[in-house]
């Protein structure tokens, strides 16, 4: 048999098999409670470890060491650059500016005319009281 004959035979064999096995390929197997049985077995099991935690022990140890190292460096820097004084100064400036703004607002409030669009206010309220809680609830219920 020549190569050409071989090729023709293989081609016709493939077509024959595809034709006959095609029907089996399209056959869908009805669930008939199979998925429920699998889920019942799974229900008694603990959830698989999250993929972040499923790394090996050595990697976990290295991660912890790296975190400790970063915390230590941060603490030393905080000490050497006199971090507490800086933090105190920043908080003082923040509180003073808020207090000043509040004082100015309260002093000038009776003379300030606020122009509010009722439609915009209504939309904002709908968003805050309906859409936002609904979306949060939907996402949480999907996640849990």
């Amino acid at each position: 048999m020549t190569d050409k004959d071989n090729l023709q035979t293989t081609f016709s064999d493939d077509r024959l098999l595809e034709h006959l096995f095609g029907e089996a390929a399209r056959q869908e197997i009805a669930d008939n409670g199979f998925s429920d049985r699998v889920m019942q077995r799974i229900a008694g099991m603990e959830a698989p470890a999250p993929s972040m935690v499923s790394c090996n022990a050595a990697t976990q140890r290295l991660t912890r060491l790296w975190t400790l190292f970063c915390v230590a460096v941060g603490a030393l820097l905080f000490y050497f650059v006199n971090g507490w004084e800086m933090l105190k100064g920043s908080l003082h400036v923040l509180f003073s500016s808020v207090a000043t703004s509040l004082e100015v607002f309260l002093t000038t409030a009776p003379t300030v005319e606020l122009r509010l669009n009722p439609v915009a206010v209504l939309l904002l309220l709908v968003f805050l009281l309906v859409v936002l809680p609904y979306q949060t609830y939907r996402r949480l219920s999907e996640a849990l």
Binding site: L16, A24, A25, Q27, R41, I42, A47, P48
Partner: protein
């Protein structure tokens, strides 16, 4: 609810332990996985369902190891292939053990070599599959009424796996190679030999007319 992608569902299971997401994956893939096992076990429905259950449970327990390098279906079929491989090995060992016990009990005068025992034990496992009461199952509504599993029973295990994955599950050669862990050329050889055997059987039974 819109159908979610496999990756999204896998992420929900792996990160949040969301069992509902896994339920969706099971419902989506139960048919191809059970069909794969039905073909490998030559139509043993009970055994196929047991192996398919084991596959999904292994997938659930190891879902954190899925890295998305291949599609979820390829990963799942790889687990299914390994589950079947382990089952075959266990069966073979049990057959060998039983045979040895039988030989010891009978105190046979004609000792069989270890290799011979293993080979015949493997044959016995195949025979167990072939003599399965469901093996004469015919594809429903088939106009040809092929004795489908009879044809598949002529193939070796690897040939059957490759042929089933290609002809029935429509997997390309590179994916079959991923699933079975065999090199692509080996897959091609198994496919060629398997198809030749099937075509011969079908022609002998007049299906080419």
């Amino acid at each position: 609810m819109a159908e979610k992608s496999d990756i999204e569902l896998v992420t929900r299971v792996a990160v949040m332990g969301n069992k509902q997401a896994f339920d969706q994956l099971v419902r989506k893939y139960q048919s191809p996985v059970r069909r794969f096992f039905l073909n490998l076990t030559l139509g043993d429905g009970q055994l196929s369902d047991d192996l398919a259950q084991d596959t999904f449970i292994k997938a659930y327990l190891n879902i954190g190891k899925f890295r998305g390098l291949s599609s979820f279906s390829t990963w799942l079929f790889r687990i299914a292939y390994n589950v079947h491989y382990d089952y075959r090995r266990k069966m073979r060992n049990e057959v060998v053990k039983m045979r040895n016990e039988e030989l010891e009990m009978r105190n046979d005068d004609c000792p069989t070599s270890a290799d011979g025992s293993a080979a015949s034990a493997y044959g016995s496992a195949d025979a167990a599959f072939s003599s399965n009461p469901h093996s004469s199952f015919l594809i429903p509504h088939s106009s040809f009424k092929i004795d489908f599993y009879q044809a598949l029973s002529l193939l070796k295990e690897e040939e059957r796996t490759c042929v089933t994955l290609q002809l029935i599950d429509g997997q390309p050669i590179d994916k079959i190679s991923n699933i079975t862990g065999m090199p692509q050329n080996t897959v091609k050889s198994h496919l060629r030999r398997g198809k030749e055997k099937l075509a011969d059987y079908l022609k002998r039974n007049g299906y080419d007319r």
